[in-house]
């Protein structure tokens, strides 16, 4: 209804230009996203918040690959986030590994964990899939709680602060908030480019086909199980990468990073921003963390405000912030 009325108001050339604008936005989505990331620390209240947006944005983008594009609702992604963070922290703290190798180890460990969890979980569907991922993630949580000589248990992992990044030829001060932001941003930008490539590839089309109609995708000759598993692993690896960045950023790994609250947070951010859109989850992370940061300065009941906003979104804008914007732009 409403878009017809709008269409009458907007003259034809303007309508076409808006449509071209949106198609340009989606063609140049990676450079535009990176541009947005470049200015973020200057706009947000603090650099620590900006780095958190980067990290949780990446988690949500990785999660969205599985939830938004493949259509699998996982409640266990905190396991990959935490595993990446713990593996990096332990590699640096206990074995004195170079930070770059430690990050690779973090990604590798979360990838392995995702393979194991994925192989067990994709045998089930729907609500059972969510429950199995949740249960497996809780298993990881309690393993980390019990293995306190490795993980620090309840107190969290400490003692691996990276204060200088040694690169071949030069080194940078990682304690400087801006340097830290841009160093982490480079990794996140590369990951975003990777996700964009994956989504544009035939594989990207297949996972969307599975989301739309699994039986039909199977009838077309696609190996649904393998594709789902691959999507699960890719998604786990991206969350693991975000975990390693979080360990480097905070210089601690809290046990809470493995908690199911973190899994819930990831789902919430993705829904708020818009599942199934490339940049939506990032917007979701940005919106959620900024709200938390700003409202918690005003009142200790900030969770109430954030909760009400989330409910309103689920009820009235189920496509999320970015998803709504995009469909509004396309309808023009």
């Amino acid at each position: 209804m409403s878009f017809i009325r709008n269409a009458e108001l907007v003259p034809a050339p303007a309508r076409r230009s808006l449509a071209t604008l949106f198609s340009n936005v989606s063609r140049w989505r990676v450079p535009l996203s990176i541009l947005a990331l470049c200015i973020m620390p200057w706009v947000l209240p603090s650099q620590a918040l900006a780095v958190n947006v980067l990290i949780y944005g990446l988690v949500a983008v990785g999660y969205n690959l599985l939830f938004g594009y493949t259509g699998l609702l996982s409640f266990g992604h905190a396991a990959f986030f935490g595993a990446g963070a713990y593996a990096t922290g332990i590699a640096i703290g206990a074995f004195g590994v170079h930070w770059f190798i430690a990050m690779l180890i973090g990604v590798l460990v979360s990838g392995l964990l995702a393979t194991v969890m994925g192989m067990l979980a994709i045998r089930t569907r729907g609500i059972y899939f969510s429950m199995v991922t949740l249960a497996l993630a809780q298993l990881v949580y309690y393993a980390a709680l019990q293995a306190s000589s490795w993980t620090g248990g309840e107190n969290g992992l400490r003692g691996f602060t990276v204060s200088t990044l040694h690169l071949p030829g030069f080194s940078v001060n990682f304690l400087d908030p801006l340097v830290k932001y841009y160093a982490i941003m480079i990794v996140v930008a590369a990951a975003l480019w990777f996700v964009s490539r994956v989504l544009n590839s035939p594989f990207g089309a297949v996972i969307e086909a599975i989301r739309e109609n699994e039986t039909r995708a199977r009838a077309c000759g696609y190996d649904v199980e393998r594709t789902k598993l691959l999507s699960f692993i890719l998604s786990g690896i991206l969350c693991g990468l975000a975990g390693t960045l979080s360990a480097m950023h905070l210089s601690i790994v809290p046990l809470d990073s493995l908690h199911y609250h973190t899994s819930g947070l990831i789902v919430m951010m993705t829904l708020l921003g818009g599942a199934g859109s490339f940049f939506g989850p990032f917007i979701g992370a940005l919106a959620f963390l900024s709200m938390e940061d700003i409202f918690s300065l005003w009142t200790s009941n900030w969770q109430l405000i954030v909760g009400v906003i989330f409910i309103l979104f689920v009820l009235y804008l189920p496509k999320g912030i970015w998803g709504t914007l995009i469909s509004w732009g396309k309808s023009r």
Binding site: P45, S46, Q47, A48, L49, N52, G153, E154, N155, G156, R158, G159, T161, S163, L175, P177, S246, L250, S251, I252, P254, L255, D256, S257, S296, L297, S300, W302, Q303
Partner: protein
């Protein structure tokens, strides 16, 4: 719509309006410089869990810390500078606390951090402040912060589990006592248990049962039959916050008090208030502070009076007092050091002798643990209470002594 915008944009801006605008911009830009000329404010970051299960204790901490800041500002500031307290909600989450501390250091440019209310959270804050050479006064119980996580920039104003349990055990365990332990399964419970067992060994008390319960448990009924059949004469419950009130209430319902005495490491003011006096009657435990100390100690009296004057006659609680002693001792050291230069403040804190609420206190040089009095309290029966706030009887007030701490060499420090 567009017409409106066009007319607005094409309307000429008058000279007067332009001048006012320019003056406004210039004024705004020069503000920080004017402020700086008056000597920079001393900013103290205060991360604490305003939301979550320890919110009551956290709010008490904030109120006491604000009192310390107000008293400093009322007498004209510290070293000629105003003091400001920046309170942030850490949600009892270590990751959140690390982020807030980073913000406080990087954005708000604080000169020191005081706060945190759980073992994990204070260790997270400690990690961030240590890497950035930032002063940190920790006001929550922990043993680890004196050993593996020691930082030259960190001072531990709270009691630690070793000293708490040493004093509590001295006044409640006897040679030959049989002790059953009910312990919350996380760092706080484990450290308290370790302390009690160390003290019990010296006294000659024996352990008959050791039960772990999950953090935040609501139901303790499954543990109690084991405790009752253990033949213990002391039940030692090592948990914190709401868990303390819940577990004691259920133990009492099952008649545990008829057979044994209940001992806790820290007898919490707010948890006692949360239930009826009959439930806690006779329960013994330690404390860093109790307002009733004012009858014998002049510094406690003046702290209570200042608190009553600021907060309409209410009294400070145990964990609240940490907020006061933590901030006040830091400000005294800044005053002595004549500024906020970290190395000078560290030297001043190490040399500081202060009596601001609970008798003589000082920071031990090797591990920066505050040596202070430890109280042993017993919860009063309803008929013995003179007022609603008259909760506990002070069984003992052990003055500051190094003997209840682990020695420096035991902790791995030289000297």
């Amino acid at each position: 719509m567009t017409n409106g915008i066009e007319t607005l944009a094409s309307r000429p801006i008058g000279r007067r309006a332009a001048l006012i605008g320019l003056a406004g911009v210039a004024g705004t830009l020069s503000m920080p410089w004017i402020a700086r000329a008056q000597a920079e404010t001393i900013r103290i970051g205060f991360p604490t869990p305003l939301t979550g299960p320890f919110a009551a204790e956290a709010n008490d901490q904030v109120r006491s810390a604000q009192l310390a800041v107000k008293l400093a500002n009322d007498k004209g500031g510290i070293a000629g500078r105003k003091v400001e307290l920046l309170v942030r909600d850490d949600k009892l989450n270590a990751g959140e606390a690390a982020t807030r501390t980073l913000e406080l250091i990087e954005k708000d440019k604080v000169h020191a951090v005081v706060g945190a209310l759980s073992s994990a959270v204070q260790l997270a804050v400690n990690e961030v402040t240590r890497a950035r050479s930032m002063l940190y006064i920790s006001i929550s119980q922990s043993d680890t912060i004196n050993e593996k996580d020691f930082s030259p920039y960190t001072f531990h104003e709270a009691l630690n589990p070793t000293m708490t349990t040493a004093v509590v055990a001295r006044h409640s365990f006897k040679k030959g006592s049989k002790v059953a332990y009910l312990v919350a399964d996380y760092a706080y419970g484990h450290e308290m248990l370790r302390g009690f067992k160390r003290a019990a060994k010296e006294i000659g008390a024996q352990t008959v049962s050791e039960i772990l319960h999950p953090f935040g448990a609501a139901d303790y009924s499954t543990f109690i039959p084991t405790i009752l059949s253990s033949g213990a004469d002391i039940l030692c419950i090592c948990n914190f916050g709401r868990d303390q009130a819940n577990s004691i209430k259920q133990a009492v319902d099952f008649g545990v008090k008829d057979q044994m005495k209940i001992v806790v490491p820290v007898l919490l003011h707010n948890q006692r208030l949360a239930v009826d006096p009959e439930v806690f009657e006779g329960v013994t435990g330690g404390a860093n502070y109790y307002w009733g100390l004012e009858e014998t100690m002049p510094s406690a009296k003046s702290f209570n009076d200042a608190f009553r004057a600021m907060y309409k006659g209410t009294i400070p609680t145990d964990y609240g007092a940490y907020g006061y002693t933590g901030v006040a001792s830091l400000l005294m050291a800044i005053e002595k050091a004549g500024g906020t230069e970290p190395q000078k403040v560290i030297a001043a804190l190490e040399a500081l002798k202060y009596d601001i609420a609970k008798g003589e206190q000082s920071y031990r040089k090797c591990d920066h643990q505050s040596m202070q009095s430890v109280l042993v309290l017993e919860s009063k029966a309803k008929k013995a209470m003179k007022s609603d706030a008259d909760l506990f009887k002070i069984v003992a007030a052990e003055p500051a002594s190094e003997s209840v701490l682990r020695t420096c060499s035991e902790l791995g420090f030289k000297s």
